[in-house]
Amino acid sequence: MPHLLAISIIAVVLGAVGVALMLPRGAARGRLLGGLLGAVALGLTLSQLPRVGQWANDALFLVLAAVTVVSAVGAVTFRNPVYCAIWFGQSLLGVAGLMLVAGAQFLAVATVVIYAGAILVTFLFVLMLAQPEGRAAYDRVSFEGPMAAATGIVIVGLLSITIGGVLSAGPMEHHSAQAMATGVLAPQHVARLGDELFGRHLLAVEVAGTLLLVALVGAAVIVRLAADRMSDRQSAADGASAPTLRGGRSVAAESVADRPS
């Protein structure tokens, strides 16, 4: 279907140009134009998507998809890092909603728990404690904007072509029926997921878990070493008032060890 392909290509290119224009740069020119281009691209893309069936499902899908895409664009184009974090969170909520519509309940909820819950809150901590006032240069200007937009074109284009290939193989009803038959959307999908993770992929899960644990311990050790080195330097700066005792153990190390428990 060359007509569809042409519209998709136009939409992707328009979207990329729009995002590139909207990215924070030194002078805030063309942001409105970029936004308009992006909106046109989004409208084109959504209008070309195949319908799922019922109007309610379609509307739900389109709204969630639009929310996801717009929030993702907001996450990269806003200058205030806190706003970027909020947009990112909203984009993840949109993704979770899409998963819920598709019937992947556990994935949807797990996405919210992991991303929105844990990572974003940590993210907010960093943002608030690092830069309460005024924005640094790296917040005001985004580097390599055109390059990033071009990369985006390639990824979105590849995804579109792949998904388009899958879609052209048959109507949506056929796919969902197939999915039902193979048990992908079976009611026991949480149990199936657990079975897969801790059965077939047990080794990978355990290795990943161990890796994370080692990373955690390593981070703690590094922090500890840095703190000790800092207090050593402090002791050295204090001169004779705080010498190292008993074969090189620093005052700090000794007093931590001898802390009354």
Binding site: V82, V109, L124, P187, D258
Partner: protein, 428 residues
């Protein structure tokens, strides 16, 4: 078709109306409890409007609501306008969204209703009965609610609000872990993430999880109190320290959203405690355990569930006046050094019981449920004794650098005194 659409809509409308009314009246109950505990009478004046009928002050929520809604809405000039408005909405929506999967009864039969409506044989009293991962969903929505608090605190651009938001986020993140561990034991024992399945399992066996998993119950209750930010864990809005905490700058309808959301958190926590550990709608000899119910049994089950929830809520309110607030480091210590280890022990104990419990109880000669209750009770007592002996919450907040050794206070160290102020073991 229309009826099938109407059914969830009707449930949503009913639930929303019930929740909002419940919030309003729980505020009144809370004020009554506060007054009674302090030897006062509490609000008892406002009755039916425009009459002199008092009705024990039952009109008070209406008056409070009108007052708050008609008050001036102040948006200070120094706030971040967009987030200032979004934050209360976020927490309110998140608090309400949790109720999508929380059952407020068992099922109601549809026998007498016209066949043309093509209703299923039973209507389950959950807004979203198809949700297989209800427990994780509640957990996810709870983690979204942190946003309202943190954003509200940050957007207010005020030090008290910011401190409240920061405290709140730290507290909620810390206590999500023991909360999850408490849930995990129940989910392990049930084998399902559905809340109604958890109730059914307790009803079928007749042993509520509070008996078979006492340690998990304690961990979950404490974490639930902390997640609902109720005293003794109400650090985010400790009036004596932070004015109003994260909602210091809020007024009018936005303040109402925050306050209602807080009450909804408490109601959610109560529902979860009842559903996960106190048997949900089950009561021995009254409600039966099966899935086939008649109308009277269905009503009794609703009443039993709501009655249990009410008792837990009353305990929440009583607890507010019973114990003083923890200091922040104590809060963190209890979370990380007591509750998380307890939760881990609980999960290991339950998992071990599921694997070996059957054989063990056969060897001992007790029925599996009694043996499980006894075994896990022993685990709880052991955990408690270990905590008493180890005393992990006792802290020494003197500077870690260059602390003098105990017993040498005041004695000059070789090479002079450490570079900090006096330290002493004297109890001031």
């Amino acid at each position: 078709m229309i009826v099938t659409l109407l059914e969830p809509l009707l449930k949503i409308v009913l639930l929303l109306a019930a929740l909002m009314t419940a919030c309003a009246y729980l505020v009144l109950v809370e004020r009554w409890m506060a007054a009674w505990v302090q030897d006062r009478l509490g609000p008892n004046r406002v009755g039916i409007p425009l009459t002199r009928v008092r009705l024990f002050g039952l009109g008070q929520p209406l008056a409070d609501g009108i007052k708050l809604l008609t008050k001036a809405q102040i948006t200070p000039s120094h706030v971040d306008k967009a987030l200032f408005i979004v934050a209360p909405m976020a927490i309110f929506v998140a608090a309400l969204a949790a109720f999508a999967v929380i059952p407020f009864g068992s099922v109601i039969p549809t026998e007498g209703l016209p066949a043309a409506w093509r209703l299923p044989k039973q209507i389950s009293l959950v807004v979203a009965p198809g949700m297989d991962v209800g427990m994780v969903y509640v957990y996810a929505v709870g983690s979204v609610a942190v946003y309202g608090v943190v954003l509200g605190g940050w957007a207010s651009n005020d030090k008290y609000s910011f401190l409240g938001g920061m405290r709140s986020s730290a507290q909620l993140i810390s206590y999500e872990l023991p909360l999850g561990l408490g849930i995990l034991g129940v989910v392990l024992a049930t084998g399902s993430l559905r809340l109604d399945a958890i109730i059914h399992q307790q009803a079928a066996s007749g042993a509520w999880n509070v008996f078979t998993q006492p340690l998990g119950f304690v961990v979950f209750c404490v974490a639930g109190f902390a997640e609902a930010a109720r005293l003794p864990f109400d650090l985010p809005e400790a009036e004596q320290e932070l004015v109003g905490g994260y909602h210091t700058e809020y007024s009018g309808i936005k303040l109402v959203m925050y306050m209602v959301a807080e009450f909804l958190h408490m109601i959610t926590a109560s529902f979860l405690i009842v559903i996960l550990f106190l048997g949900g709608w089950h009561l021995w000899g009254v409600t039966g355990a099966g899935n086939e119910v008649s109308w009277p049994i269905a009503l009794v089950r609703i009443i039993v569930l709501l009655g249990k929830v009410m008792v837990v809520i009353l305990f929440f309110m009583l607890a507010r006046w019973s114990w003083p607030r923890f200091r922040f480091d104590q809060l963190m210590d209890i979370g990380w050094k007591v509750m998380i280890p307890w939760g881990l022990v609980n999960v290991v104990a339950i998992a071990a019981w599921i694997e070996f419990g059957g054989r063990l109880s056969a060897v001992v000669g007790l029925s599996p449920i009694v043996a499980m209750a006894l075994g896990n009770g022993c685990v709880l007592i052991l955990c408690w004794l270990a905590t008493v002996v180890a005393d992990p919450t006792s802290i020494d907040n003197r500077p870690r650098r260059a602390l003098p050794v105990v017993g040498q206070v005041g004695q000059p160290r070789p090479g002079g005194n450490p570079p900090c102020g006096k330290t002493t073991d004297r109890v001031l």
